[in-house]
């Protein structure tokens, strides 16, 4: 499988193969690329970011680790239905979303937008 590494802006061209039951990644220039290549081959994952808008403020948030690519839409639905509450930057909004092991964390709070 040919793919592009998304870990950093360099964007290494990766080639991932299964050889003797082992996944081999070539073309990466750092260990993060190898990890990404393996995960892309077995279960592609992405960090999900979004914003939730309330009457007087907007919260931006992300999943602290990458989650299964196919679960993005479902996770987004759950995030969008959170209740209005006082949050600070870094607070966990949803713990272990959809049993992926990822927490949804506040990245920014915009007042009077």
């Amino acid at each position: 499988m040919e793919t592009i590494c998304i870990c950093c802006p360099i964007g290494c061209r990766l080639s991932v193969k299964k050889e003797n039951g082992e996944i081999v990644v070539t073309g990466n220039t750092c260990p993060r690329g190898k990890e990404y290549g393996i995960s892309e081959f077995t279960l592609p994952k992405r960090v999900l970011t979004t914003s939730v808008v309330f009457n007087d403020f907007t919260l931006t948030m992300k999943t602290n680790i990458a989650i299964d690519k196919k679960l993005q839409n479902e996770a987004l639905k759950q995030i969008k239905s959170i209740y209005k509450k006082e949050y600070k930057i870094g607070d966990v909004v949803i713990k272990n979303i959809l049993d992926t092991g990822a927490d949804v964390v506040i990245t920014g709070k915009l007042l009077n937008v």
């Binding site: 998304i6 950093c8 802006p9 592609p44 979004t50 808008v53 839409n73 990245t107 920014g108």
Partner: protein, 404 residues
Amino acid sequence: MKTDVVVIGGGPSGMSASLEARKQGAKVVLIDVESRLGGILNQCIHNGFGLKHFKEELTGPEFANKLAEKVYQSDITVLLKSYVNFIGKNIVYAITPNGQEKIECKAIVLCCGARERTAGEIYLKGKRLAGVYTAGTVQKMINFYGKLPGKNAVILGSGDIGLIMARRLTLEGVKVKSIFEIMGHSSGLRRNIRQCVEDFEIPLLYNHTITRVVGKERVEGVYYAEVDENRNPKPETEKFIECDCVLLSVGLIPENSLLPEETKREKFVLVDDERQTSVEGIFISGNVLHIHDLADNATEEGEIAGKFAGLKALNMSKRYEKVKVYFSAKISYCMPQLINKKEDGKFTIYLRANDNFLKKYIVVKCGDVDIARKFCIGITTGEMQEIEVEYEKIKGDLFVDIGD
């Protein structure tokens, strides 16, 4: 009001410039038009920032907060909701919530970023319909206000903002029907094509452009066609696609209209390696100078400009003889264009290629001598390259080339 350094613009470049100027010991005033620091980073809620500068992966607001916290911890005076309407040598006029303010200073750093190219500037044909937006406007609409631009979108141009918005729209439930790119390649980062376009199976058509936008009062669809090598549409290939909004991601233009008229300009504002313009005491950094791929690069450039603006304001900067940087036809531009002949230390030349190259060297020559070489696996037009050069090796004008 009196101060040493005035920094105009509170984005990543402006914040790092203020911090660095303060570090030199100068009194700093930071002015921004918005009600919060961070600039455009606040609306870039996606991840992928900060790997170079902070060595960790951050989203835009987190990146902005990290710098803003440092600014608020220091004794930099921050003027928010303030608009600078004129700058001259050692003077800045700003409209603040308390009225017109005249700020006397010894150095100015301009960090006011760039603006998006609009429909009129690319001669987008058709009527003036509702539903034609620039990609950054839609980004702000969705991320700040939670408003969607329509139900079916097409995107013209494949710059990074356009690609990011393709993903964002899809996740928010807007169908992105197609992305058109007039060139044979994208000017966005490779990883954004992978994670924003290919992940969601959005068609990205190279060598295609929108020929006209049609509709009654709101966009009802666009005609698009393939283009020839001179970027002229081939009429026989024209097709129709239904949509209710068009997003433009067709480039950014440095917003440098504040600079005094006598400032020397070539393709970009002429600066030296300290990021000082031809007007003494006016420094410039970030997207207002040239368009950066990464907020990290703009932050680093802000640090350079801030440092030397601070030193200038405290009368601690030295004068040097300047040499010029020339470059071959394979390169579209080099930054900076002038270099001070200092005794020791290093500086970085940033450059953008005109074409794509595989496994080539970036070479900096001084006369017939190579003074710096860097091997690059892949050089693309979309990605800025950088090469470090030592001051002591400079004997005369420099020549930058891509070769073997």
